[in-house]
Protein backbone atom coordinates (compact mmCIF):
# COMPACT_ATOMS: atom_id res chain seq x y z
CA UNK A 1 0.00 0.00 0.00
CA UNK A 2 2.73 2.40 1.13
CA UNK A 3 4.93 1.55 -1.89
CA UNK A 4 2.01 1.83 -4.32
CA UNK A 5 1.09 5.28 -3.03
CA UNK A 6 4.65 6.53 -3.21
CA UNK A 7 5.14 5.15 -6.72
CA UNK A 8 1.99 7.00 -7.83
CA UNK A 9 3.31 10.15 -6.18
CA UNK A 10 6.70 10.04 -7.95
CA UNK A 11 5.51 11.14 -11.45
CA UNK A 12 3.46 13.95 -9.90
CA UNK A 13 6.51 15.25 -8.03
CA UNK A 14 8.64 15.00 -11.17
CA UNK A 15 6.01 16.93 -13.13
CA UNK A 16 5.88 19.68 -10.49
CA UNK A 17 9.70 19.81 -10.48
CA UNK A 18 9.66 20.18 -14.26
CA UNK A 19 7.10 22.99 -14.08
CA UNK A 20 9.20 24.70 -11.41
CA UNK A 21 12.43 24.49 -13.42
CA UNK A 22 11.07 25.06 -16.93
CA UNK A 23 8.27 27.55 -16.29
CA UNK A 24 8.39 29.28 -12.92
CA UNK A 25 12.17 29.67 -12.94
CA UNK A 26 11.83 31.73 -16.13
CA UNK A 27 10.53 34.63 -14.07
CA UNK A 28 12.62 36.72 -11.72
CA UNK A 29 9.70 37.77 -9.57
CA UNK A 30 10.03 40.57 -7.01
CA UNK A 31 10.82 39.41 -3.49
CA UNK A 32 12.39 36.14 -4.62
CA UNK A 33 9.26 34.59 -6.12
CA UNK A 34 7.97 31.23 -4.94
CA UNK A 35 8.81 27.56 -5.18
CA UNK A 36 5.87 25.51 -6.41
CA UNK A 37 7.64 22.29 -5.40
CA UNK A 38 8.09 23.58 -1.84
CA UNK A 39 4.43 24.58 -1.56
CA UNK A 40 3.28 21.31 -3.11
CA UNK A 41 5.45 19.14 -0.85
CA UNK A 42 4.40 20.98 2.29
CA UNK A 43 0.71 20.79 1.32
CA UNK A 44 0.99 17.03 0.82
CA UNK A 45 2.87 16.70 4.06
CA UNK A 46 0.04 18.44 5.94
CA UNK A 47 -2.46 16.00 4.44
CA UNK A 48 -0.39 12.82 4.96
CA UNK A 49 0.66 10.56 7.81
CA UNK A 50 4.00 11.52 9.40
CA UNK A 51 5.99 8.62 7.90
CA UNK A 52 4.64 9.30 4.39
CA UNK A 53 5.23 13.03 4.89
CA UNK A 54 8.86 12.27 5.79
CA UNK A 55 9.36 10.32 2.55
CA UNK A 56 7.57 13.06 0.57
CA UNK A 57 9.83 15.65 2.20
CA UNK A 58 12.92 13.57 1.46
CA UNK A 59 11.98 13.12 -2.21
CA UNK A 60 11.03 16.76 -2.78
CA UNK A 61 14.17 17.95 -0.98
CA UNK A 62 16.26 15.65 -3.17
CA UNK A 63 14.67 17.23 -6.27
CA UNK A 64 15.29 20.72 -4.87
CA UNK A 65 18.95 19.77 -4.37
CA UNK A 66 19.07 18.68 -8.00
CA UNK A 67 17.95 22.15 -9.08
CA UNK A 68 20.76 24.15 -10.69
CA UNK A 69 19.97 27.14 -8.51
CA UNK A 70 20.49 25.22 -5.23
CA UNK A 71 23.43 26.94 -3.57
CA UNK A 72 24.11 24.79 -0.52
CA UNK A 73 25.74 21.36 -0.40
CA UNK A 74 23.78 18.52 -1.98
CA UNK A 75 21.55 17.02 0.71
CA UNK A 76 20.87 20.23 2.61
CA UNK A 77 17.37 20.64 1.16
CA UNK A 78 16.83 16.86 1.45
CA UNK A 79 17.49 16.98 5.18
CA UNK A 80 15.49 20.14 5.79
CA UNK A 81 12.47 19.02 3.78
CA UNK A 82 12.50 15.60 5.41
CA UNK A 83 12.41 17.19 8.86
CA UNK A 84 9.87 19.83 7.78
CA UNK A 85 7.59 17.23 6.19
CA UNK A 86 7.67 15.03 9.25
CA UNK A 87 7.21 17.91 11.68
CA UNK A 88 4.33 19.57 9.81
CA UNK A 89 2.52 16.25 9.49
CA UNK A 90 3.19 15.27 13.11
CA UNK A 91 1.67 18.55 14.31
CA UNK A 92 -1.28 18.65 11.94
CA UNK A 93 -2.18 14.99 11.30
CA UNK A 94 -5.47 13.85 12.77
CA UNK A 95 -6.51 17.40 13.56
CA UNK A 96 -9.68 18.16 11.63
CA UNK A 97 -9.27 21.85 12.37
CA UNK A 98 -6.35 21.70 9.97
CA UNK A 99 -7.45 19.08 7.42
CA UNK A 100 -11.02 20.19 6.90
CA UNK A 101 -10.12 23.82 6.80
CA UNK A 102 -8.58 25.57 3.78
CA UNK A 103 -7.33 28.46 5.91
CA UNK A 104 -5.71 26.01 8.32
CA UNK A 105 -3.78 24.25 5.56
CA UNK A 106 -2.70 27.54 3.96
CA UNK A 107 -1.59 28.84 7.36
CA UNK A 108 0.43 25.65 7.98
CA UNK A 109 2.03 25.74 4.53
CA UNK A 110 2.97 29.44 4.64
CA UNK A 111 4.35 29.19 8.17
CA UNK A 112 6.30 26.07 7.22
CA UNK A 113 7.70 27.82 4.11
CA UNK A 114 8.90 30.70 6.29
CA UNK A 115 10.45 28.38 8.87
CA UNK A 116 12.07 26.11 6.28
CA UNK A 117 13.72 29.13 4.64
CA UNK A 118 14.99 30.31 8.04
CA UNK A 119 16.30 26.79 8.70
CA UNK A 120 18.01 26.88 5.29
CA UNK A 121 19.69 30.18 6.19
CA UNK A 122 20.85 28.93 9.58
CA UNK A 123 22.12 25.57 8.34
CA UNK A 124 23.66 27.34 5.32
CA UNK A 125 25.53 29.67 7.64
CA UNK A 126 26.83 26.65 9.57
CA UNK A 127 27.91 24.93 6.35
CA UNK A 128 29.64 28.04 5.01
CA UNK A 129 27.16 29.00 2.27
CA UNK A 130 27.36 32.67 1.20
CA UNK A 131 23.89 34.12 1.76
CA UNK A 132 24.18 37.82 0.92
CA UNK A 133 23.30 40.96 2.81
CA UNK A 134 20.90 40.91 5.75
CA UNK A 135 18.39 43.16 3.98
CA UNK A 136 18.36 40.88 0.94
CA UNK A 137 17.83 37.82 3.12
CA UNK A 138 14.92 39.47 4.92
CA UNK A 139 13.40 40.60 1.61
CA UNK A 140 13.64 37.08 0.14
CA UNK A 141 12.35 35.49 3.33
CA UNK A 142 9.23 37.64 3.56
CA UNK A 143 8.85 37.84 -0.23
CA UNK A 144 8.75 34.06 -0.58
CA UNK A 145 6.29 33.77 2.32
CA UNK A 146 3.99 36.37 0.79
CA UNK A 147 4.16 34.65 -2.60
CA UNK A 148 3.33 31.36 -0.89
CA UNK A 149 0.36 33.04 0.78
CA UNK A 150 -0.80 34.12 -2.66
CA UNK A 151 -0.12 30.89 -4.52
CA UNK A 152 -1.07 28.26 -1.92
CA UNK A 153 -4.83 29.03 -1.83
CA UNK A 154 -4.99 29.06 -5.64
CA UNK A 155 -3.22 25.72 -6.00
CA UNK A 156 -4.75 24.06 -2.94
CA UNK A 157 -7.81 22.54 -4.70
CA UNK A 158 -5.55 20.95 -7.33
CA UNK A 159 -3.04 19.67 -4.79
CA UNK A 160 -5.65 18.21 -2.46
CA UNK A 161 -7.48 16.58 -5.39
CA UNK A 162 -4.23 14.93 -6.50
CA UNK A 163 -3.59 13.83 -2.93
CA UNK A 164 -7.08 12.39 -2.75
CA UNK A 165 -6.55 10.46 -5.99
CA UNK A 166 -3.25 8.96 -4.88
CA UNK A 167 -3.98 8.33 -1.22
CA UNK A 168 -7.70 7.66 -1.58
CA UNK A 169 -8.39 9.95 1.34
CA UNK A 170 -11.34 12.22 2.01
CA UNK A 171 -9.21 15.32 2.44
CA UNK A 172 -10.32 16.91 -0.86
CA UNK A 173 -11.22 20.56 -0.47
Amino acid sequence: MFTRQLSFSAPIFLAIFLVQEAVISQFRLPGGGFSLLLIFALTWAVLSQPEIAAVIGFASGFLMDLSQSASGPFGQWTLLMLLAGYAISYIGYGDDNVHANTIGIVFFVVTATFLVEIAFLLSGALLGVALGSFSQMVTTLFGMSLWSLLVAPIMLPVFTKLHGLVFDSRSVI
Binding site: Q26, F74, T78, L79
Partner: protein
Protein backbone atom coordinates in the same frame (compact mmCIF):
# COMPACT_ATOMS: atom_id res chain seq x y z
CA UNK B 1 3.73 0.42 18.91
CA UNK B 2 4.97 -1.54 15.94
CA UNK B 3 3.91 1.25 13.57
CA UNK B 4 5.58 3.86 15.76
CA UNK B 5 8.81 1.86 15.72
CA UNK B 6 8.69 1.52 11.93
CA UNK B 7 8.11 5.25 11.49
CA UNK B 8 11.03 6.07 13.77
CA UNK B 9 13.30 3.65 11.91
CA UNK B 10 12.26 5.16 8.57
CA UNK B 11 12.93 8.67 9.86
CA UNK B 12 16.36 7.69 11.16
CA UNK B 13 17.28 5.99 7.86
CA UNK B 14 16.22 9.07 5.85
CA UNK B 15 18.10 11.46 8.15
CA UNK B 16 21.24 9.35 7.94
CA UNK B 17 20.90 9.24 4.13
CA UNK B 18 20.57 13.04 3.99
CA UNK B 19 23.62 13.53 6.20
CA UNK B 20 25.48 11.01 4.05
CA UNK B 21 24.62 13.05 0.92
CA UNK B 22 25.80 16.28 2.57
CA UNK B 23 29.07 14.65 3.63
CA UNK B 24 29.67 13.23 0.15
CA UNK B 25 29.08 16.63 -1.42
CA UNK B 26 31.31 18.48 1.02
CA UNK B 27 34.06 15.94 0.33
CA UNK B 28 33.68 16.62 -3.42
CA UNK B 29 32.53 13.15 -4.53
CA UNK B 30 31.89 13.19 -8.28
CA UNK B 31 28.74 11.02 -8.17
CA UNK B 32 26.76 13.97 -6.85
CA UNK B 33 27.95 16.18 -9.74
CA UNK B 34 26.87 13.43 -12.13
CA UNK B 35 23.36 13.54 -10.67
CA UNK B 36 23.11 17.28 -11.21
CA UNK B 37 24.65 17.12 -14.67
CA UNK B 38 22.21 14.41 -15.74
CA UNK B 39 19.27 16.42 -14.42
CA UNK B 40 20.37 19.54 -16.27
CA UNK B 41 20.84 17.60 -19.51
CA UNK B 42 17.24 16.39 -19.22
CA UNK B 43 15.90 19.78 -18.15
CA UNK B 44 17.60 22.04 -20.69
CA UNK B 45 15.27 21.20 -23.66
CA UNK B 46 12.27 21.94 -21.45
CA UNK B 47 13.84 25.18 -20.23
CA UNK B 48 14.59 26.15 -23.82
CA UNK B 49 10.98 25.53 -24.82
CA UNK B 50 9.75 27.35 -21.73
CA UNK B 51 11.94 30.36 -22.54
CA UNK B 52 10.52 30.61 -26.07
CA UNK B 53 6.90 30.34 -24.94
CA UNK B 54 7.18 32.51 -21.83
CA UNK B 55 9.40 35.36 -23.06
CA UNK B 56 6.55 37.84 -23.67
CA UNK B 57 5.10 37.17 -20.20
CA UNK B 58 8.56 37.38 -18.66
CA UNK B 59 9.14 40.78 -20.25
CA UNK B 60 5.82 41.98 -18.89
CA UNK B 61 6.75 40.97 -15.33
CA UNK B 62 10.20 42.47 -15.75
CA UNK B 63 8.72 45.79 -16.90
CA UNK B 64 6.22 45.81 -14.04
CA UNK B 65 8.84 45.04 -11.40
CA UNK B 66 11.11 47.81 -12.66
CA UNK B 67 8.42 50.47 -12.78
CA UNK B 68 8.70 53.25 -10.23
CA UNK B 69 12.24 52.49 -9.11
CA UNK B 70 13.43 55.98 -9.77
CA UNK B 71 11.95 59.13 -11.19
CA UNK B 72 14.40 58.99 -14.07
CA UNK B 73 13.29 55.51 -15.00
CA UNK B 74 9.64 56.59 -14.99
CA UNK B 75 10.41 59.56 -17.17
CA UNK B 76 12.44 57.40 -19.49
CA UNK B 77 9.70 54.80 -19.65
CA UNK B 78 7.07 57.41 -20.40
CA UNK B 79 9.19 58.91 -23.13
CA UNK B 80 9.76 55.52 -24.68
CA UNK B 81 6.19 54.37 -24.30
CA UNK B 82 5.16 55.07 -27.86
CA UNK B 83 8.28 53.48 -29.28
CA UNK B 84 7.83 50.40 -27.08
CA UNK B 85 4.31 49.86 -28.39
CA UNK B 86 5.62 49.75 -31.92
CA UNK B 87 8.52 47.56 -30.88
CA UNK B 88 6.14 45.15 -29.17
CA UNK B 89 4.19 44.75 -32.36
CA UNK B 90 7.38 44.11 -34.32
CA UNK B 91 8.60 41.11 -32.43
CA UNK B 92 9.82 42.89 -29.36
CA UNK B 93 11.81 39.98 -28.03
CA UNK B 94 13.86 39.45 -31.15
CA UNK B 95 14.64 43.14 -31.43
CA UNK B 96 15.62 43.48 -27.78
CA UNK B 97 17.86 40.44 -27.90
CA UNK B 98 19.47 41.67 -31.10
CA UNK B 99 20.14 45.02 -29.45
CA UNK B 100 21.72 43.34 -26.42
CA UNK B 101 23.78 41.15 -28.70
CA UNK B 102 25.00 44.12 -30.73
CA UNK B 103 26.09 45.98 -27.60
CA UNK B 104 27.81 42.88 -26.22
CA UNK B 105 29.69 42.38 -29.48
CA UNK B 106 30.70 46.06 -29.49
CA UNK B 107 32.02 45.67 -25.95
CA UNK B 108 33.86 42.46 -26.77
CA UNK B 109 35.19 43.92 -30.02
CA UNK B 110 36.77 46.96 -28.35
CA UNK B 111 38.60 44.75 -25.85
CA UNK B 112 39.45 42.01 -28.35
CA UNK B 113 37.64 39.26 -26.43
CA UNK B 114 36.64 36.16 -28.37
CA UNK B 115 33.08 35.44 -27.27
CA UNK B 116 30.33 32.88 -27.68
CA UNK B 117 26.83 34.34 -27.51
CA UNK B 118 24.01 32.57 -25.74
CA UNK B 119 20.37 33.09 -24.87
CA UNK B 120 19.13 32.91 -21.30
CA UNK B 121 16.79 29.94 -20.94
CA UNK B 122 16.17 29.95 -17.20
CA UNK B 123 16.53 32.57 -14.49
CA UNK B 124 16.98 30.20 -11.56
CA UNK B 125 15.01 30.19 -8.35
CA UNK B 126 15.77 32.33 -5.31
CA UNK B 127 14.67 29.67 -2.83
CA UNK B 128 18.33 29.00 -2.00
CA UNK B 129 19.19 32.72 -1.85
CA UNK B 130 21.47 32.29 -4.89
CA UNK B 131 21.52 34.29 -8.13
CA UNK B 132 22.03 32.13 -11.19
CA UNK B 133 20.77 31.71 -14.72
CA UNK B 134 21.04 29.03 -17.38
CA UNK B 135 22.11 29.69 -20.98
CA UNK B 136 21.47 27.63 -24.10
CA UNK B 137 25.13 27.00 -25.03
CA UNK B 138 27.50 24.60 -23.34
CA UNK B 139 30.66 22.59 -23.80
CA UNK B 140 29.79 21.84 -27.44
CA UNK B 141 30.13 25.58 -28.17
CA UNK B 142 33.52 25.74 -26.45
CA UNK B 143 32.30 27.01 -23.11
CA UNK B 144 34.25 25.81 -20.09
CA UNK B 145 33.95 26.26 -16.36
CA UNK B 146 35.24 29.55 -14.88
CA UNK B 147 34.86 31.73 -17.94
CA UNK B 148 33.78 35.38 -17.80
CA UNK B 149 30.21 36.15 -18.85
CA UNK B 150 29.36 39.57 -20.28
CA UNK B 151 26.18 41.57 -20.69
CA UNK B 152 25.92 44.58 -22.96
CA UNK B 153 27.01 46.83 -20.07
CA UNK B 154 29.82 44.78 -18.57
CA UNK B 155 30.15 41.88 -16.20
CA UNK B 156 27.19 39.49 -15.90
CA UNK B 157 28.84 36.65 -14.00
CA UNK B 158 30.98 33.58 -14.35
CA UNK B 159 30.39 30.08 -15.71
CA UNK B 160 29.78 27.83 -12.72
CA UNK B 161 28.87 24.53 -14.38
CA UNK B 162 28.93 23.35 -18.00
CA UNK B 163 26.76 20.73 -19.70
CA UNK B 164 26.84 19.69 -23.37
CA UNK B 165 24.09 22.10 -24.49
CA UNK B 166 23.69 24.47 -21.57
CA UNK B 167 25.68 26.16 -18.83
CA UNK B 168 24.91 27.51 -15.38
CA UNK B 169 26.02 31.09 -14.79
CA UNK B 170 26.67 32.47 -11.33
CA UNK B 171 25.55 36.08 -11.58
CA UNK B 172 27.76 38.86 -10.24
CA UNK B 173 24.93 39.65 -7.83
CA UNK B 174 25.22 36.22 -6.18
CA UNK B 175 26.31 36.47 -2.54
CA UNK B 176 29.15 34.01 -3.18
CA UNK B 177 30.50 35.98 -6.16
CA UNK B 178 33.85 37.72 -5.68
CA UNK B 179 36.01 39.50 -8.25
CA UNK B 180 39.26 41.45 -8.12
CA UNK B 181 38.51 45.04 -9.12
CA UNK B 182 40.53 48.12 -9.91
CA UNK B 183 39.40 51.70 -10.10
CA UNK B 184 39.72 53.15 -13.58
CA UNK B 185 42.38 55.83 -13.69
CA UNK B 186 43.82 55.57 -10.19
CA UNK B 187 44.49 51.80 -10.46
CA UNK B 188 43.60 51.18 -6.80
CA UNK B 189 42.65 47.57 -6.25
CA UNK B 190 40.07 45.80 -4.13
CA UNK B 191 37.70 42.88 -3.88
CA UNK B 192 34.10 43.26 -5.09
CA UNK B 193 31.52 40.94 -3.51
CA UNK B 194 27.92 40.33 -4.61
CA UNK B 195 25.11 41.08 -2.16
CA UNK B 196 22.10 39.36 -3.70
CA UNK B 197 20.94 42.44 -5.61
CA UNK B 198 22.31 45.03 -8.02
CA UNK B 199 24.56 46.50 -5.32
CA UNK B 200 27.92 45.03 -4.34
CA UNK B 201 30.51 45.85 -1.70
CA UNK B 202 34.04 46.92 -2.54
CA UNK B 203 36.79 46.28 -0.03
CA UNK B 204 39.99 48.15 -0.86
CA UNK B 205 43.20 46.27 -0.15
CA UNK B 206 45.46 49.22 0.58
CA UNK B 207 44.71 51.37 3.62
CA UNK B 208 46.48 54.40 2.15
CA UNK B 209 44.18 54.70 -0.86
CA UNK B 210 40.79 56.32 -1.05
CA UNK B 211 37.75 55.93 -3.24
CA UNK B 212 35.04 58.44 -4.11
CA UNK B 213 31.46 58.35 -5.36
CA UNK B 214 31.27 57.95 -9.12
CA UNK B 215 34.56 56.09 -9.51
CA UNK B 216 34.32 53.42 -12.21
CA UNK B 217 35.39 49.86 -11.43
CA UNK B 218 36.91 47.43 -13.91
CA UNK B 219 37.88 43.77 -13.58
CA UNK B 220 41.55 43.28 -12.71
CA UNK B 221 41.71 39.98 -14.52
CA UNK B 222 42.94 36.59 -13.36
CA UNK B 223 46.06 34.65 -14.22
CA UNK B 224 45.51 32.94 -17.62
CA UNK B 225 42.37 35.11 -17.93
CA UNK B 226 40.22 32.63 -16.00
CA UNK B 227 37.84 33.13 -14.38
CA UNK B 228 38.06 36.83 -15.25
CA UNK B 229 39.47 38.65 -18.24
CA UNK B 230 40.88 42.13 -17.51
CA UNK B 231 39.16 45.41 -18.28
CA UNK B 232 35.50 44.37 -18.05
CA UNK B 233 33.35 47.21 -16.65
CA UNK B 234 31.81 46.23 -13.33
CA UNK B 235 29.98 49.23 -11.92
CA UNK B 236 30.44 52.56 -10.24
CA UNK B 237 30.84 53.61 -6.61
CA UNK B 238 27.50 54.80 -5.25
CA UNK B 239 28.39 55.20 -1.57
CA UNK B 240 31.63 55.31 0.41
CA UNK B 241 31.89 53.89 3.90
CA UNK B 242 34.22 56.02 5.98
CA UNK B 243 34.06 54.08 9.25
CA UNK B 244 36.76 55.32 11.59
CA UNK B 245 37.73 51.84 12.81
CA UNK B 246 38.04 50.19 9.39
CA UNK B 247 41.52 49.05 8.32
CA UNK B 248 40.90 49.90 4.67
CA UNK B 249 38.12 51.87 3.03
CA UNK B 250 35.04 50.08 1.71
CA UNK B 251 32.28 51.22 -0.62
CA UNK B 252 28.95 50.24 -2.09
CA UNK B 253 29.06 49.69 -5.84
CA UNK B 254 26.15 49.64 -8.27
CA UNK B 255 26.60 47.17 -11.12
CA UNK B 256 26.11 48.46 -14.67
CA UNK B 257 24.23 45.27 -15.54
CA UNK B 258 20.56 44.97 -14.70
CA UNK B 259 20.43 41.26 -13.87
CA UNK B 260 16.67 40.96 -14.07
CA UNK B 261 16.53 41.93 -17.75
CA UNK B 262 19.27 39.70 -19.14
CA UNK B 263 18.10 38.02 -22.34
CA UNK B 264 21.37 37.49 -24.18
CA UNK B 265 24.87 37.14 -22.74
CA UNK B 266 28.34 36.41 -24.12
CA UNK B 267 30.88 34.02 -22.67
CA UNK B 268 34.52 35.03 -23.17
CA UNK B 269 36.16 31.93 -24.60
CA UNK B 270 39.35 33.51 -25.92
CA UNK B 271 41.83 35.73 -24.15
CA UNK B 272 42.39 39.29 -25.42
CA UNK B 273 45.66 39.84 -27.29
CA UNK B 274 46.53 42.60 -24.84
CA UNK B 275 45.09 44.11 -21.67
CA UNK B 276 42.42 46.61 -22.80
CA UNK B 277 43.22 48.86 -19.84
CA UNK B 278 40.59 51.54 -19.38
CA UNK B 279 39.27 51.25 -22.95
CA UNK B 280 35.90 49.90 -21.81
CA UNK B 281 35.09 52.60 -19.27
CA UNK B 282 31.53 53.65 -20.13
CA UNK B 283 31.05 57.22 -21.31
CA UNK B 284 29.62 59.46 -18.62
CA UNK B 285 26.10 60.66 -19.38
CA UNK B 286 26.07 64.06 -21.06
CA UNK B 287 24.35 66.75 -19.03
CA UNK B 288 22.09 68.85 -21.23
CA UNK B 289 22.18 72.47 -20.08
CA UNK B 290 18.74 73.85 -19.21
CA UNK B 291 18.23 77.41 -20.51
CA UNK B 292 17.44 79.89 -17.76
CA UNK B 293 15.15 82.88 -18.25
CA UNK B 294 15.47 85.92 -16.00
CA UNK B 295 12.36 88.08 -15.64
CA UNK B 296 12.75 91.55 -14.16
CA UNK B 297 9.63 93.19 -12.82
CA UNK B 298 9.58 96.94 -12.15
CA UNK B 299 6.85 97.93 -9.64
CA UNK B 300 4.32 100.42 -10.97
CA UNK B 301 4.08 103.57 -8.79
CA UNK B 302 0.84 103.59 -6.80
CA UNK B 303 -1.74 106.45 -7.39
CA UNK B 304 -1.22 107.70 -3.81
CA UNK B 305 2.35 108.71 -4.67
Amino acid sequence: MRNGGRARLLLVVLIVTSLFLITLDLRGVKVIDGFKQGTQTVLSPFQRAGAVVLNPIKDFFSDVSNLGRTDNQIEKLEAENARLKVTLLNRKNADAQLEQLKDILDLAGIAGYKVVNAKVISQGSSQSFSQTLTIDSGSKAGIRKNMTVLSQYGIAGVVKDVYPNSALIQLASDPAFKIGARIAGSQQIGILSGQGNRSATLQLLDNSTTVSVGDVLLARGSSSNRPFVPGVPLGYVSRVDNSAGAIAQSAVVRYYTNFSTLGVVAVVVGRPSSNPGDALVPAKPQVTPIPTVTVTVTPTPSPAD
